[in-house]
């Protein structure tokens, strides 16, 4: 028997080793190709996800619902104390609501005076969150809208209040949103009221870091952080959150979007901001154009 086995191993082991080597080589090649030509492999990944995840949706929705139900039940234990908190919050909110109504009326009057037209191209598609990244090291969610719905890479995704992330990777029926908290995410932003521009860089924590800031002294916790539209990344003026500083003194953004419950996300259609490339006819005449007539000499003398 022992001799039998050794003879058989002589025959099968090299074949097996060859198979192992070939398989490992394939995996290595996939990794190297990904490193060299990342966009192509990421597109392939988006297609694989697009093929697999929608098939799971029928089971995902009820399971997610059930787990959330259990979590909600756990929170019932703190019901009475939550009720107290909510009451006191409500009292504050009523004061705020009064202020907001007055501001809204004022805003409407001012807009009317200015005859302002809000950007009509900033429409949105609403998608439902199907899945998260599945890995503790990456922060992203998968939406159930994709290239079929006209979603394109780079568009902004918001919940009702604030920016959530950007589209990165679209399949036919799905699109991945890289959240602002992901380590690979950075968004150019403006901080109001000081008007400084900065970069909001995610670092796998709940509050992204404010980076490349010119003058940190001018910031105060509570300042509003909005997108600046620099680099044509996002439309300008989307709310990101508020400035806060962590215990070690680093400035971070407390995000306005409710990351605990990402359920419905708006994907803003954004077709790029128009750049201004010519100096403009009023500032200086284009070269070769006839010079405007000089101002009559006696005009100023009459007035003065």
């Amino acid at each position: 028997m022992a001799r039998d086995r050794s003879q058989r191993e002589d025959y099968t082991t090299p074949l097996k080793r060859l198979l192992i080597a070939v398989t490992c080589l394939c995996l290595l090649v996939i990794f190297i190709v990904w490193r060299i030509d990342s966009p192509r492999v990421e597109r392939f990944r988006a297609q694989v996800v697009d093929a697999v995840v929608p098939n799971m949706e029928w089971a995902m929705v009820p399971v997610t619902g059930a787990i959330n139900l259990v979590r909600d039940f756990q929170s019932y234990q703190r019901l009475s104390e939550q009720n107290q908190e909510l009451r006191s919050e409500l009292r504050q909110m009523q004061a705020w609501k009064e202020a907001a109504l007055q501001l809204e009326q004022e805003n409407a009057r001012l807009l009317d005076l200015n005859n302002v037209r809000l950007d009509p191209r900033l429409t949105y598609i609403t998608g439902v969150v199907m899945a998260d990244s599945g890995s503790p090291f990456r922060q992203s969610v998968l939406l159930n809208v994709g290239s079929r719905d006209g979603v394109r890479d780079g568009w902004a995704a918001m919940d009702g209040i604030g920016l959530v992330g950007r589209i990165s990777g679209t399949g036919r029926n799905t699109a991945r949103v890289i959240l602002l908290t992901d380590a690979a995410s950075s968004v150019p932003a403006t901080i109001q009221p000081s008007g400084q521009s900065a970069l909001i860089a995610g670092d796998n924590s709940a509050a992204p870091v404010i980076d490349f800031l010119e003058n940190p002294d001018k910031l105060r916790p509570g300042d509003r952080v909005i997108t600046s539209g620099d680099g044509d990344v996002f439309p300008a003026g989307l709310l990101i959150g508020q400035v806060a500083s962590d215990p070690s003194g680093r400035l971070r953004v407390r995000l306005s979007a409710d990351y605990e419950r990402l359920e419905f996300l708006r994907v803003l259609r954004h077709h790029g901001t128009e750049g201004i490339y010519s100096p403009g006819g009023l500032v200086a005449p284009p070269p070769g154009a006839p010079l405007p007539r000089p101002r009559p000499e006696n005009l100023g003398a009459d007035n003065g």
Binding site: R5, K16, L19, I20, T23, C24, C26, L27, L28, V29, I30, F31, W34, R35, V41, R45, V48, V49, V52, V53, M56, A59, M60, V63, T64, I67, N68, V129, M130, A131, D132, S133, G134, S135, P136, F137, R138, Q139, S140, V141, L142, L179, T181, A183, A184, N204, S205, A206, Y259, E260, R261, L262
Partner: protein
Amino acid sequence: MASTSPAHIWLMRAAFPALALLIVFFRLLPLDTVPRQWAPPDLLMAMALAWSLRRPDYVPIVLLALTLLLADLMFQRPPGLLALLVLLGCEYLKPRALTHRDTGFAAEWISVSLVLTAITVFNRTALALVGVQQAPLGLILIQMLLTIAAYPLVVFVSQSILGVRRLTSTELETLGIRL
């Protein structure tokens, strides 16, 4: 014996990717959209190692590679690298399945811990070499330790519920032709 019949082997070969898909499914549920301070154990990796040590014929190399690659793609990891390392770890353990049969579980657990540590170290080194952005070291260490801690549980579930246990010597004889 039932567990050595070809039908049963093919059934268990189908069960491995099915379980992997189940793990992927539960990880993908959109429950944690806030970054956490800890990382859950990588059950798929533990399962691949446990099955390789118990029944190498249930996890043929091509099946293992495809399943791990799918997990890489679904979890937004660099595709191929972790799959390659886990595959090498499994293939390293497979020939040692027979020796571990005699030494008991503690020795097996230690060798699996060493393999998991090696996988983590090589993964991090390779990513550093090609200059890919890395996850925080703390999270990776937590995940590695939790995976090592979860390994006995995975083995227990595999053995008691799924029936993935080591073959007795008589069964080995009957299967000897195929192995």
